[in-house]
């Protein structure tokens, strides 16, 4: 796995994606675009984990039953050199743990995304706009002439 770090290009792509997503986060003032950038950013973190888990020449971490016909068929699709070396039983898997972790992280990401989008909807309802600059201007305008917002009406 540590060697995996040395096999560079996947990581180069991941870093590039990460930078791109951060760039989106930095430059846009639009709430929806910001959420897109954020999801992208989380996704690259996921990709990073998946890339870590890849073992050179290994297969997906799915248990192969060498006896059954299905297993035989799958084994046949593996790299013949490995089968020769390890036998069908000794199949080299990718590390399954990061996959599991990222599954969790994706769930977290989806939850964040949904909460974020829900808030974006509320912002649009309250301000009539989804640009943060406009929101800031509206707040500044509201706070200048008179003390801001005791709009103390309970939740509508």
């Amino acid at each position: 796995m540590i060697d995996a770090l040395a096999t560079g290009y996947v990581y180069a792509i991941i870093v590039a994606m990460m930078m791109a997503s951060l760039f989106v986060l930095l430059t846009t003032g639009n709430l929806i675009r910001k959420m897109i950038g954020l999801s992208l950013f989380q996704t690259t973190a996921g990709l990073f984990y998946i890339a870590l888990s890849k073992v050179g020449g290994g297969t997906a971490p799915i248990i192969i039953d060498a006896e059954s016909a299905v297993g035989q068929a799958r084994a046949a699709r593996l790299d013949p050199a490995y089968v020769e070396h390890f036998g069908v039983d000794g199949v080299v898997y990718g590390n399954p743990l990061p996959h599991v972790l990222i599954l969790t992280a994706i769930v977290v990401g989806v939850a964040t995304l949904s909460v974020g989008l829900a808030i974006a909807v509320r912002v649009r309802e309250a301000y009539g706009d989804t640009e943060l600059d406009a929101v800031r201007r509206a707040d500044a305008a509201a706070s200048e002439p008179e003390p801001p917002g005791p709009r103390g009406r309970p939740n509508a």
Partner: protein, 514 residues
Amino acid sequence: MIGLEFLNIAPQRFAEQAPALVVVGPLIAACAAVLAPGRRWAWFLCVGASAFAFWMAVVLASEVARQGVISYAMGGFPAPLGIEFRVDALSAMFALLISGMAVLTAVFSGESLETEIMSSKHPLMQGGFLTCLAGLLGLVLTGDAFNAFVFLEISSIGVYAMIAMGGARDRRAYPAAFNYLIMGTIGATFYLIGVGFLYAATGTLNMADIAARIPTLTSDRSIEVGLAFILIGLALKAAVFPLHQWLPAAYSHAPSMIVVFLSATATKASVYLIIRYLSTVFAFDWQVETAFMAFVLAPLSVAGILICSMQAAVDPEIRRILAYSSVAQVGYMTLAIATATSAGVSAALFHLFNHGVMKAALFMAIGGAAIHLKSQRLSDFAGAAKSAPWTMTAFGIAALSLLGAPLTAGFLSKLRLIQSLVAADWGWAAAVIGLSSLIGVFYVGRIFEVVFFRSEPEGGSAVREAPVSILLPLWLLAIANIWFGIDATIPLGLAESAAGAVMGATTLSPAGAP
């Protein structure tokens, strides 16, 4: 260790399962609260579940005091493959602080939500609160790096949603929640990436295991990069200057209840993780870490202390004054941690505890006043002490504590901080604390002048006395501020043993002791 051992009357089976129960209890209650038929039910559930969590935290703490580190294999899968809950004195201290504050907040929430949130949404709010509580408790108890990420996000998502709930009363809560969400998620993802680097280098996610394997590795950049990502991510969550920018807006527009809880616990939990990583996972004497603390953490802390104190000194809105002061106080803690001494960590933890107690009281008093006063401008609190003497007296006590007046908890923790900084030969840092205390005089002085000495506006002050269910926890905290300022056995014991657990034995030889 904590003087609350008498509460440890749980049957042995309970005590054994306490590490899981302390998290699972609030989590289940959260689901139940969302489904609760009415706001009363939700409130009872909330108080009950928090109290249960507090009880379990006490059980845990006394078990830790009795037998040292508790290792609990979640689901029966042993570490390092399974998720391990690893409770030492540090975790126990934070669990106590968080769950204790949760009880008070839960009691406070009943009347406070009444005026701030439409009653049909109370169950959602309480559910969010319990989720957040479960997340924070899990965060401080878990011994698994990735699991910590999950708990971090569980608590954060609850918080985002609850801050946004404030939007019905003050629409600025929406962008505040959104900004917090973006920043928080960036922080969490940074943390996730950092953990990935550590995993890549060590092949394990269990913190103790990572710590054990790091020394065996030849120099590998991925550990250093991982450290950088993790610490920056956590610094974002802990609102270390200048990554704090989500905090003032979030604190000033969210519903009072969540601000009380957040101010006392949420950033603190991230400080916990920072300490955990700096001390347990990595080693304090690792030169990379010393360099980080001397050249990044300490300067940022100093800048945060000074700049945010100044901002607090001139801001016209009372909650934002307190929020800026919170950032400055986080600066105190990180500054003391950056000394990388046992005394420093102990002082930081001591201050963290006391700061939790005083800030919760301050925000609680503001929340109590907010029941009748919709504005948060400091000037609208003119003469509030006349119309709400009980609320405002408690507020005044906590404000004095924030200032560090003698006979209050704040004084002892500042003294302790300065002692530890001087002992570490960081006299300049002690001077920074002195200087910021001077600035603190201004913002606390301003608050005092307005609340206690300015005459009421025409037609009387809009501030009214808070109801009993708010005064009760408020005064409990106010008295705690004085009590811990006179007899600091409990917080000091907690902080010392917590620092001892992660740093080895802690002995600060105080100046002047014969």
